[in-house]
């Protein structure tokens, strides 16, 4: 049976309540009549033989690139870089796509007699991965072969000895990336393109860059001018990365890009109801929903968090392409759209969204308030092409408990950012001028980033800049069920229920607003006309 495309449902009297994520819980909300609910296309079928597909991609590259085996020769320096723990979400069931791809790359390298091979996790300013996470992404065979020899490394954006400045773009942007990767004869990059913003030149230009380089596109100005950052041609973030990527290519770094896309089969069968449209819920779906919701109501949030973070997604690979970066990424983007695209007619006054327990920066961790804002106003708000799902001056209503909680090991600078910066200003421009530098260069944060599992000191700023476009665009942000103090700290309004939130929104958008709800999971991209 072919999967059905996405759908925009108009709510009427017969529409059952709509499912909202609410952190580690769910809520069924009855949306006002006339509201539109955007549903993602159903998951595409998995590739029947992933190994064969990978082999085919490596030997039939796109664009101006020779097949991978032809690029490999004895005595060369080969560096294989791969996306880090932020992709995919939730982490996929073993074997991970990265393992499948890299195993084949390594087999080819071994056949060609390459013995100087180093693996680099492309962390950018993300936290270092733990042994368990690396083993999960790469498989034990690769881990045990490389890690003990120190050949499995994680990019360190603060290691002056392992960074190289390749030059400055025409726009004056510094390009400084991982030295080992830049000075190798071949840089193979293995990506997982979960959403449209991933991949392309961004893989190397961002994933392997230093703070000095990243600050040229990770800033409020760029983010306000990325409309949206999920739509590369209209994204200043991507323009900058593309300039950098071309400079990297021009300076002689040979990149062999391998991109994969996954289907949206996001949750295992016991959460089947999450993947289905409410009016199509079977008796079994209803029963499991009722049981799950009741059980979660009785579970302490901490335990619920552990349960959810232990979920491994049954994601399956639906495409793999390799070769020259830009040629590859064009096909990849088309594949992402094929899975996620939904056409939506016009903007609404109000956009509602239920936010889950996870975003790219809290795998195995806590979704702190800054990440809640980033997921809602950064990621979900930007899941559009054309124009935002909500009109300028409109209202976004987020559904999330937004607890005032932080993981001290993963997000130490977030704690201080929330206390010291957001208490003073929520304006991205203002904070970038006044506070960014001191957080980015704080030796303690640098130390924790380099030696522990902490995000870089500047990372919370980036998360807030991610929201810059939305903050610029919106008239009001309301968080249903959020911790009032935490929500207010961010300049948003807390509401106890969706109907209260709608009542509050009427101050901004009038008494009879139009409303669009993005239904997740699975992820979708709205093509707004």
């Amino acid at each position: 049976m072919t999967p059905r495309p996405g759908l925009v449902l108009e709510v009427d009297r017969s529409t059952p309540p709509t499912l909202f994520w609410h952190g580690e819980r769910f809520a069924l909300e009855r949306l006002p009549e006339g509201s539109r609910v955007v549903y993602a296309p159903e998951p595409l079928p998995a590739l029947r033989d992933p190994s064969a597909a990978i082999r085919h991609a490596l030997t039939h590259p796109l664009g101006d690139r020779a097949p991978l085996p032809a690029l490999l020769r004895p005595g060369m320096r080969l560096t294989i870089c791969f996306d880090d723990i932020s992709l995919p979400l939730p982490p996929m069931q073993a074997p991970d796509v990265r393992q499948l791809v890299i195993e084949q790359v390594l087999d080819m390298a071994a056949e060609a007699g390459v013995d100087d091979v180093v693996l680099v996790a492309a962390l950018a300013l993300h936290r270092r991965m733990t042994e368990a996470e690396l083993r999960h992404a790469l498989g034990d065979r690769i881990y045990d072969a490389f890690a003990p020899q120190g050949l499995l490394t994680q990019h360190d954006a603060e290691d002056p000895d392992n960074l190289v400045h390749l030059g400055t773009t025409a726009e004056g942007e510094d390009v400084e990336i991982n030295k080992r990767a830049a000075t190798s004869d071949l840089l193979v990059y293995v990506n997982i393109n979960l959403v449209a913003m991933d991949g392309g030149h961004k893989s190397v230009a961002t994933g392997l860059a230093s703070y000095r380089s990243l600050r040229h596109h990770h800033n409020p100005r760029t983010m306000v001018h990325s409309r949206s950052f999920m739509d590369a041609p209209r994204s200043e973030l991507h323009s900058s990365n593309w300039r950098m990527g071309r400079l990297i290519a021009d300076s002689g770094v040979q990149v062999f890009q391998i991109e994969t896309t996954l289907n949206t089969d996001t949750f295992p069968s016991q959460f089947g109801f999450l993947q289905r449209r409410e009016w199509e819920w079977s008796l079994r779906d209803r029963a499991t929903y009722a049981a799950t919701a009741a059980a979660l109501d009785r579970t302490p949030p901490r335990i619920a968090r552990q349960i959810f973070h232990s979920i491994r997604a049954p994601h399956a690979m639906v495409s793999v392409q390799a070769g020259e970066v830009e040629a590859v990424h064009e096909v990849t983007t088309a594949n992402v759209w094929r899975q996620q695209g939904v056409e939506v007619d016009g903007q609404a006054d109000i956009l509602t969204m239920g936010l889950p327990y996870i975003c790219p920066y809290n795998v195995g961790s806590i979704m702190n308030p800054v990440l809640v804002a980033c997921l809602g106003l950064g990621y979900f708000f930007n899941l559009y092409r054309g124009k935002p799902l909500v009109r300028p001056g409109g209202v976004v209503i987020l559904h999330h408990p937004t607890p005032w909680e932080f993981h001290p090991g993963h997000h130490p600078s977030y704690i201080d950012f929330f206390e010291e910066v957001l208490s003073q200003t929520t304006d991205p421009v203002e904070m970038s001028k006044t506070y960014e530098e001191s957080f980015a260069t704080d030796p303690w944060y640098v130390h924790l980033y380099r030696t522990g599992n902490a995000y870089h000191g500047v990372h919370p700023f980036y998360m807030w800049y991610w929201c810059a476009h939305a903050l610029d665009h919106l008239g009001r942000v309301i968080v249903v069920g959020g911790d009032p103090a935490a929500v207010r700290r961010m300049g948003f309004s807390p509401a106890t229920s969706l109907s209260d939130a709608l009542e509050m929104a009427s101050d901004v958008v009038g008494r009879s607003p139009s409303l669009t709800h993005i239904h997740t999971p699975p992820l979708l991209m709205a093509d707004v006309r």
């Binding site: 034990d140 045990d144 901490r302 909680e405 993981h407 090991g409 522990g452």
Partner: protein, 813 residues
């Protein structure tokens, strides 16, 4: 003759000028009597000269604000000319006067003896030395000084061969006053509280008063002091004090414990003497040691007096009615703490008879009466002194019930506020008997004692510990209330009437101008006005209690303290580690490291073993932290150095950092940004604290010996703990040219007391109970830092399982 004229140019000798009455007297003389001079007998301080002390403790009192205003810039000159301070002490024979002091005394026209220990719970021997022997010592010193001056004058006169009479005295020596009048201030209560009428007459003429030999009392009190000093040094008693000190301070170090135990010994002796004083007084019919020793003092004085003498006996002296300003008061006396305790809701009952008379008199009336007495003719014969009561009970009785009513009315309109800014509601008094109130309070304090013991024993910290410190404070206040009832209960049940016929006769003899200026007729008192508009507003201001709602006071105090701590002028910030920056201890770290590579099946045994030892480890830690660390660290014997060092990083990031206090780590970095040196002082091992290196300029920690790539289990040197930290801080500051008085120290436990005491800015972080109590008493800044909500929740500090072991099986298939 008007008082002003009669006293113009006279020279007064005043004892007890630092007291309430004395200060008012000095001020009144300087302000209202032209050209009069005052010589003050002041006890020399340890470092301050008598003149310094007089300047600081008398002239700088707000009593002199009015005079300062009236004189303007000439205040210092006028006061400097008219006030002389001489060093001396009424508890020493001859008052401890030097020759100059004696000459000044001899030259005085009026000697007012108002020095006394007025506290009703003074140790007996102290009360005897000051109250009993003081007056006669003043009289004796006066006689001796005058005799000395006379013989000197004779010698000088003979040498100069000038006639004895009419000759001018030498220019450098003050002349001897031709006549002198000694006025001794006593108390109306020397006549006791349980009789009908007390006349203004000597105690010897009073038919109720027992003929007690004051010399025997002096002898007994002095001997009792010696006996108690000896008893307090008996081994079993000393052990008790040592145990108490340890209970209060924990393992704070031998020096501090010894100092505390010695203070307990002192306090014990004092308590015994207080108890002895009140029992002896009651056995002779006085309510407590104060009137008893004052009464004995009058007897001794009369026996030894050789100069004309007047005894002025005020009743309970309270705030000024009008002079120098309405409501002026110095020090907290008898009624004030009771009233404030009541308004704070602490004193739920106070005994008393509503119809009973409470005999209160404003201080300015007592001063006026003394000046009127001084201006009048001195009694002819020294052995027939005049006696005046300055009391209100007969002329203008103030009923106890009315007082309570007035206080209730006033506080209903002007309530005090509790710590949370909520108005405190007033208890309703039912005027029970003294015994019932005492029993109630005793029950309450007993319950609180028990609660306090339990709370101190609990391993709580931070806000819970602050709570138990609050229980302790409430307990202290309740005990104080119990003390008030015991001490002052008698005065609200007084049946005696202190007649004021002579005082009124003196009043009648004054002209209208004097009456207007030096009012001492208790008849003019309007009690409602006095209580509502004069006394209560004044004492509420003095008590520094919260009189406005909201939390501002507390918040601003702690903000001020924080600003002071984070001033760029500070030099050094020293931090303790465990429970100050990270909620973990050496046992956690060990358990984590030791279990890190244990296979799953061996873990339950390991945990069980550690848990089984927990009580004995805890006990050892409480007894002596140094011994504990040495003993505990032996467990690292034979551990592979490299492995442990590598695992320690993981321990830090996965176990310690999630249990850290983000606000604490931010504070360390803030100190660094401000240019302060930062120092970590901890008993933890070097490899455990290595990941903290970038936060601190220096780290002082325990170091373990190594041999052949393995740890020896023995420390290279003693870990810096307890009192060693104070020394270490001092050495460190000296080595880096820093001042400890400009330094900050952060710690969580009483065992860090020495370190906290060593610096100018101690901060108690999430203090455990003992330190919470100490910090509260000493006004130290307290920080409540919490772990980031969302930090790791591992219930046991056990390292994660090796991933390889989990996955190897899968890898093989």
């Amino acid at each position: 003759m008007p008082i002003r004229h009669a006293l113009t140019g006279k020279r007064f000798f005043i004892t007890g000028a630092t007291g309430f009455l004395g200060t008012a007297l000095v001020e009144r003389i300087l302000r209202s009597v032209p050209d009069a001079e005052v010589v003050l007998l002041v006890r020399p301080g340890r470092r301050a000269s008598p003149a310094d002390r007089a300047g600081r403790e008398i002239l700088r009192n707000d009593c002199f604000d009015r005079l300062r205003r009236e004189l303007g810039t000439s205040f210092d000159e006028v006061v400097g000319r008219r006030v002389t301070a001489v060093g001396g002490d009424v508890s020493r024979d001859g008052l401890g006067l030097d020759a100059e002091g004696r000459r000044l005394l001899a030259a005085c026209d009026v000697v007012v003896h108002s020095a006394a220990t007025v506290s009703f719970d003074a140790p007996l021997d102290q009360a005897v030395e000051i109250n009993l022997l003081g007056p006669s010592r003043v009289a004796a010193a006066l006689a001796e000084a005058r005799a000395e001056a006379l013989s000197e004058a004779r010698t000088t006169t003979r040498d100069a061969t000038t006639p004895v009479t009419g000759g001018a005295p030498p220019a450098d020596a003050p002349p001897m006053a031709p006549g002198v009048h000694m006025i001794a201030v006593s108390t109306a209560y020397v006549a006791g509280t349980h009789q009908g009428e007390a006349k203004e007459e000597l105690l010897t003429s009073n038919r109720f008063s027992l003929d007690v030999d004051w010399r025997a009392e002096v002898e007994a009190a002095r001997r009792l002091r010696q006996d108690l000093e000896a008893a307090s040094r008996r081994p079993e008693t000393l052990q008790r004090f040592a145990k108490k000190a340890r209970e209060e301070l924990g393992a704070a170090g031998e020096h501090l414990l010894a100092a505390r135990a010695e203070r307990f010994r002192d306090e014990w002796v004092k308590d015994q003497l207080v108890e002895a004083g009140s029992v002896r007084a009651q056995s002779l019919g006085w309510p407590d040691a104060y009137p008893f020793t004052k009464a004995m003092g009058e007897r001794a004085l009369i026996e030894s007096a050789t100069v004309p003498l007047t005894i002025v006996r005020p009743s309970i002296i309270e705030s000024a009615l009008a002079e120098p300003v309405p409501g002026w008061i110095r020090g907290f006396r008898m009624a004030e703490p009771i009233i404030i305790s009541y308004a704070r809701g602490l004193l739920r009952e106070f005994p008393g008879v509503p119809e009973g008379v409470i005999d209160v008199v404003p201080v300015d009336m007592v001063v006026a009466a003394i000046l009127a007495v001084a201006a009048g003719p001195a009694p002819e014969a020294p052995d027939a002194p005049a006696v005046y009561h300055v009391a209100s009970g007969v002329r203008n009785p103030f009923l106890y019930g009315r007082l309570v009513e007035l206080i209730q009315q006033w506080f209903a309109v002007h309530p005090l506020y509790d710590d949370r800014g909520q108005p405190i509601s007033l208890p309703e008094w039912t005027f029970p008997g003294r015994g019932r109130v005492q029993r109630q309070l005793q029950r309450a304090t007993k319950a609180m004692d028990a609660a306090e013991r339990v709370l101190t024993a609990l391993p709580v910290r931070g806000r819970q510990a602050a709570l138990s410190a609050a229980v302790e404070e409430r307990n202290t206040l309740a005990k104080r209330a119990l003390g008030y009832v015991g001490l002052y209960g008698a005065y609200t049940e007084t049946e005696a009437r202190y007649r004021v016929d002579r005082l009124l006769a003196l009043w009648e003899s004054l002209d209208d101008a004097d009456r207007a200026e030096f009012c001492f007729d208790p008849g003019v008192l309007d009690w409602d006005h006095y209580v509502h508009d004069v006394h209560l507003p004044s004492i509420v201001t003095h008590a520094r209690v919260r009189t406005s709602p909201g939390r501002t006071v507390m918040a601003s105090r702690s903000d001020r303290a924080r600003r002071a701590i984070l001033s760029p002028e500070r030099h050094l910030a020293a931090f303790d580690l465990e429970h100050t920056l990270i909620a973990a201890n050496v046992v956690d770290s060990y358990a984590w490291l030791a279990s890190r590579h244990l296979p799953g099946r061996e873990r339950p045994g390991f945990v069980a073993g550690l848990v089984a030892q927990a009580p004995s480890l805890l006990a050892l830690d409480r007894r002596d932290r140094g011994d504990f660390l040495r003993f505990f660290y032996r467990r690292y014997e034979d551990a592979p150095v490299e492995q442990v060092q590598a695992d320690a990083w993981e321990l830090f990031h996965r176990q310690l950092l999630p249990r850290s206090f983000p606000a604490g780590l931010a504070r360390v970095r803030e100190h660094r940004r401000l240019g302060h040196r930062t120092l970590l002082i901890t008993g933890a091992l070097d490899f455990v604290v290595a990941p903290l290196r970038p936060l601190f300029d220096d780290i002082v920690c325990a170091r373990m010996g190594q041999s052949g790539g393995r740890f020896t289990g023995h420390l290279d040197e003693l870990p810096p703990i307890g009192e060693a930290r104070a020394q270490l801080l001092a050495d460190y500051a000296a080595a880096h040219g820093l001042e400890l008085s400009q330094s900050v120290a952060y710690a969580d436990s009483a065992s860090d007391l020495a370190m906290l005491e060593a610096v100018g800015f101690p901060v108690a972080v999430n203090p455990e109970t003992r330190l919470a109590a100490i910090a509260r008493r000493r006004g130290w800044h307290v920080e409540h830092w919490s772990r980031a909500k969302g930090g790791a929740a591992r219930p046991l500090p056990i390292g994660p399982l090796d991933v390889r072991r989990l996955t190897s099986a899968r890898g093989r298939t």
